[in-house]
């Protein structure tokens, strides 16, 4: 192509904007590395996986963050497992099942749900949800509570973005399916969902990021015990909660250790992104 001069300069502007967007991540990574460096140098990274437990400010400090990695993974996975089908169902409801007025009302509701501060979710979880769970299995503040609250928080993201993905399917696809006499559900499962899968996948990715990174609400309902959860009713601590709980009062090595949990979180995200990237590519080529 031979774009005109304005086009070329606009294109460079776009590149600059994208570079800024990308650079933010780089800056954050550098920032985390700098802050975590003292702890990575001594005691060294292996301590973070091989120590007995997490007592970063005791006289013989211990820095095992593996249980928190497990807690983060468990809470995120649980929330994704719960929120993905619910979110997609909500999107399908909006698009194909609800009468128009109800659909737009339902969408408003999801938008509001997306804007409720995490403190409010956390507070609600602490006052309403955990006592309910406690009646089954004390202490109530548990992995389950974290999963439920997280699901609730990421559900609007999945639902709203999936809904727009569904909305942008060319009408001719649906008409084609209807012309074949397919039922509504078969049209959805056979035509609509596959056609929108890219948009839905990116919605799920965004939601997964949110679930991994969520702090306040999880902190208030998860119980925050540093342990590998042996049941869904066991209290867990996530990496984010670890930072939020202790950072305000951490000094020196303890503080640096908390930034290592931040780095660890980033590693988790990179693994997740790479994995999903790989799956998507497999699907395209396979």
């Amino acid at each position: 192509m031979s774009p005109s001069r304005t086009e070329t300069s606009l294109l460079w502007l776009l590149r600059a904007l994208a570079a800024i967007a990308g650079a933010i991540t780089l800056l954050i990574v550098v920032f985390l590395l700098v802050e975590a460096w003292p702890a990575l140098r001594s005691p060294g990274f292996t301590h973070f996986l091989s120590d007995e437990a997490w007592f970063p400010s005791s006289s013989t400090p211990q820095f095992n963050i593996a249980p928190m990695v497990a807690g983060t993974v468990a809470a995120t996975l649980g929330a994704m497992l719960l929120a993905t089908p619910l979110g997609i169902a909500a999107a399908l409801f909006c698009r194909f099942y609800a009468p128009p007025a109800l659909a737009s009302g339902f969408r408003r509701l999801l938008e509001l749900l997306a804007g409720i501060p995490s403190v409010v979710y956390g507070f609600w979880g602490l006052v309403v949800l955990t006592p309910l769970i406690r009646q089954w299995a004390p202490p109530g503040q548990s992995l389950l509570a974290a999963v439920l609250i997280l699901s609730l928080m990421i559900l609007p993201t999945i639902a709203l973005l999936s809904e727009t993905a569904l909305r942008s399917i060319p009408r001719s696809y649906l008409q084609g399916a209807a012309a074949l006499g397919l039922s509504r559900w078969r049209t959805i499962s056979g035509v609509a969902l596959p056609a929108a899968r890219c948009g839905i996948a990116s919605a799920i990715m965004l939601a997964a990021g949110r679930a991994i990174g969520e702090t306040m609400a999880v902190l208030m309902v998860a119980g925050n015990i540093v342990q590998v959860p042996d049941s869904i009713f066991a209290p867990v601590r996530t990496l984010t909660a670890n930072i939020a709980l202790e950072l305000g009062y951490a000094m020196g090595g303890h503080r640096a250790a908390l930034f290592v949990s931040g780095l660890m979180l980033l590693v988790l995200i990179v693994v997740l992104v790479t994995l999903s990237d790989w799956i998507m590519r497999e699907e395209i080529h396979g």
Binding site: P56, S58, P138, G223, A244, Y249, A250, H254
Partner: protein, 292 residues
């Protein structure tokens, strides 16, 4: 259309700039010569109190501005050391490696062990509390309560209430077997209020206030001393901590007029915060004023 959007962007940008430039033009009409701005950061426990003190201070000294920020005791110390804050708020004693700073107490706070209101036990001995927290007692029935598992609520590592609790009971954090770990004070109260089998420890003033407004908790006496603000005030309650403002010692010794001005302001604010003029504010935030 593009033009319209661009125009709108320009208008927004310019107005933002204008707003940005128009601030900070406070003419120093202060009679007492105190002008300038202070940044106070640190403990989220002290922040509400410091915010109220700052407001009153500003009223009495027009031309001054005290910006109170929250974020935790260690943040206060780090910010003061780095120079991004003038004064830090620290809700504990300074550690040995923090002697480069000077701490000024402005109030006291006690820590009380709390149970759910429906728990039949009215008092626990220190040994019992230690036994519960170290996991050698795991059911209330073992110490004369209901037949239910104990939910041990502990505070997160580094929190000053935790440190106070540990040092009083001569425990190490490693020995504690918690069921739930919490962060802020209110979370502790909510957790215990929602669980009839829970035991936790929180700031006394807060606990007393919550009891009066009907939250289902009760504060246990310690060494037979009632857990009240009064017993903290008269020094009989064993578990109490000072709330500090910290600053660099050379804050008064800097060179240059501006430096001296801000040093005077820092000194004035700290003295004001420790004076009896703010006792009512301290009490309103459920802390114990210093004995003057």
């Amino acid at each position: 259309m593009i033009k319209k959007i661009l125009k709108a962007c320009c208008v927004v940008a310019i107005s933002l700039l204008l707003v940005g430039c128009s601030g900070e033009q406070q003419e120093g009409a202060a009679a007492d010569g105190l002008i300038g701005q202070l940044i106070v950061t640190g403990s989220s426990t002290i922040a509400p109190l410091a915010g109220e003190i700052a407001k009153r201070f500003e009223q009495e000294h027009p031309g001054t501005r005290i910006d109170v920020q929250s974020g935790g005791s260690s943040r206060g110390i780090a910010d003061v050391r780095r120079g991004t804050a003038d004064i830090g708020m620290v809700s504990r004693q300074l550690n040995p490696d923090e002697i480069d700073l000077v701490a000024y107490p402005i109030a006291r706070d006690g820590v009380a062990v709390i149970l759910h209101r429906d728990n039949p036990l009215q008092a626990l001995s220190e040994d019992q509390i230690v036994a519960i927290y170290t996991g050698s007692v795991t059911r209330w029935s073992e110490i004369g309560g209901a037949d239910a598992p104990i939910t041990v609520v502990n505070k997160a590592e580094g929190r000053s209430t935790l440190e106070l609790f540990l040092s009083h009971f001569k425990l190490r954090n490693e020995d504690i077997r918690p069921s739930v770990i919490i962060g802020d004070n209110q979370q502790g109260i909510r957790t215990v209020a929602a669980d009839p089998n829970a035991i936790g420890y929180v700031s006394i003033g807060t606990a007393a206030f919550e009891v009066t407004r009907g939250t289902p908790i009760k504060a246990l006496p310690m060494d037979a001393v009632e857990a009240t603000l009064e017993s903290v005030r008269n020094g009989s309650f064993p578990l109490s901590r000072p709330l500090h403002l910290v600053t660099l010692p050379e804050a008064g010794a800097g060179a240059g007029a501006a430096r001296a001005e801000s040093a005077a302001l820092i000194q004035a604010f700290i003295e004001y915060a420790a004076s009896s003029q703010v006792d009512d504010l301290t009490e309103a935030q459920y802390f114990v004023p210093l004995a003057h």
